[in-house]
């Protein structure tokens, strides 16, 4: 999988690059809009991560040009602007996702993977498995070991999300978006409370703790 990163800030570019390479991607980096456009037009990428404020050619016009030339590489926009208007403008121009700076790398990674999955057609499993934890999406049943676990709807959605992202950290914002469909952070501890409840049901009576906290980043479900 090849990812193009167009970002003029060296430090940010290097941490995105390192992170994506660790996650198994081949990464090309362009430091300005013109180079980015050149690469995006001539190389086949699976995803492009494009900053909006770029020297020589800004991100929006880069995306516009790509779409005009029928290059449909999925694009994640990075921007320091967080207003709804800017987000809408970015998505209307042809971006597929929008991430505000500063962001957690885990979130960028999750979004890159989500875009690749979406582009490759969605496989829709009926069963999710993580270690000894099994989720039957049709019967909406969760079994760990031999025990059936009773979950309330929100707990079920959270576990489903964590299991689909198994091994990858998810941030609180991402959980709010997926479980409650909230697009803003109401600055509450509702996510912590829900995760805590889920842990009680899924992990408390077991030796291996599946749900782990990554400080400052979020949570991850790790099948041992």
């Amino acid at each position: 999988m090849r990812v193009l990163v167009v970002e003029d800030d060296g430090k940010i570019a290097s941490f995105i690059r390192k992170g994506l390479e660790q996650a198994g991607f081949a990464v090309d980096h362009a430091a300005d809009g013109e180079d980015g456009l050149h690469l995006a037009l001539n190389e086949p990428y699976d995803v492009a991560v494009i900053d909006l404020m770029l020297p020589r050619r800004d991100g929006l016009s880069l995306i516009e040009e790509l779409r005009r030339k029928q290059v449909n590489t999925p694009v994640i926009i990075l921007s320091a602007r967080r207003s709804v208007d800017d987000r809408v403008k970015g998505l209307q121009t042809g971006g597929d996702d929008y991430l505000t700076k500063p962001f957690a790398f885990a979130e960028l990674l999750a979004r890159v993977q989500a875009l690749i999955r979406r582009a490759g057609g969605t496989e829709n499993p009926t069963r999710l498995v993580a270690g000894d934890l099994v989720m039957d999406l049709l019967a909406r049943e969760v079994i760990r070991g031999d025990a059936k676990i009773d979950l309330q709807p929100r707990e079920f959605s959270l576990l489903e999300y964590l299991m689909r992202q198994a091994g990858r950290a998810v941030s609180k914002t991402m959980i709010l978006e997926h479980v409650w469909d909230y697009s803003f952070d109401p600055q509450t501890n509702v996510v912590d409370v829900l995760v805590c409840r889920l842990r009680t049901k899924v992990d408390r009576d077991f030796e291996t703790k599946l749900i782990q906290t990554i400080r400052g980043v979020g949570y991850v479900l790790k099948p041992s």
Binding site: R82, S83, V84, D85, P102, R154, W180, Y182, S183, F184, D185, P186, Q187, T188, N189, V190, V193, L194, C196, R197, R215, G216, V217
Partner: protein, 464 residues
Amino acid sequence: MFSNPLKWFRQTLSLRLTLWYSAIFVVSSLVLFAAAYLFLANSLCQKDHEAILGKLKDYQAQYQAGGVIALRNEIKFQKYGGKRQEYFVRLAGPHNRTLFLSLPEQWADFDLASLEGNHPSRQTWIHLKARDDENILEIVSLRLKDGYILQVGKNTETREEFLESFRGIFLGVMLPVILLGFLGGHFLSSRALRPIRQLIQTVQTITATGDIEARMPDSPSSDELGELSRLFNRMLEKIEALIKGIKGTLDNVAHDLRTPLTRLRGTAETAVQTPDDPVAWREALGDCLEESERILTMLNTLMDITEAETGTLPLDKAQVNLAGLLEDILDLYRYVAEDKQITVTNDFPEELWVTADENRLRQALANLLDNALKYTPAGGRVGVKAWEAGQQAFVTFQDSGVGIPPEDLPRIWERLYRGDQSRSLRGLGLGLSLVKAIIQAHDGQVSVTSTLGVGATFEIKLPK
């Protein structure tokens, strides 16, 4: 301004107005003079004609009394009688042969012989031009009973001289009139344009020095330009208030961010100085991440508050079901309440429509519920009510919490203010400021009543 006169000439509105004014002034004076001139010339001409006709009648009477002889004597008498002769008289035979002719000596030379070729009819005026100058002899003819022709005429010289001097006066007067028109126009236009020049000057001062406190001088007039300068001043006042608000917020934000940044820096610095201890380092890095997350949240919230307060927060207003929003929020906080064994009661109709930005309103309501749950001890109660009355919708969040001390009541809306009880709890001290800013941006009101130890009730009032 005058460095390039041609440019100035074309560009200044003042000069154009002046020129228009003087042009109108001059044209109307011209019309007035022309009318007077025509009237004067006409009446002078008529007077001359009357005099000539009168004379003709005199001679006719003479003729009737004494025939040609008497007439001749009369004319001769007039010609040589020492009296200054004022009329041209000609007596001609039935075949228009001149029998007698008298022309005042001082008059110009006229081609009188040509009169013989004419066969004048009664009441026809003959205009005879002098040979060497512009003088005209006006002659009227009368055919006497026995076929003789009597003609009396008068030189128009006096009349022309009079009219000429009138024209002279007119030209002499016109120059001052033009000058007067120009000066008057200049005076009026510069007076009318004074507010505009002041406006230009004020704007120039502001753009040159950045001094937003510059104002237009007070204008006493109630005309459009006076209104313009008053409106302009009011706009400047509003801009000044906004700029001051933004500056103040910027100062506050800088100040508020310094504290968590100092913590962040401190943690990182301590970790750097700690000798090989991966566990401590990891711990420090986690702290740093959390702290930076907090700073980000704080910055975003402060920006939201400032934008809402200064009226620059874009509100995407639409019809929103307030009851639906409350359901969402109660659902969001259900587990939080369950965990603290707080009983949440709700009392609102299924539909309660208001015009609002859905996301912002949700944020405000969520903050209030969060607040109520946070300050209510385990096992307490929180009641959410909503209703409408008249053109307003009301929402209350009532908790059975610790309550707010009276001295804290007015201060809880301040940015980053945290009462004694709240210091131990999580939070930034920005939640209520944000609620207030959002509700006020919606033209609503938010208020609180509290009894210490019994609880607090927050009430939102929104226009429908």
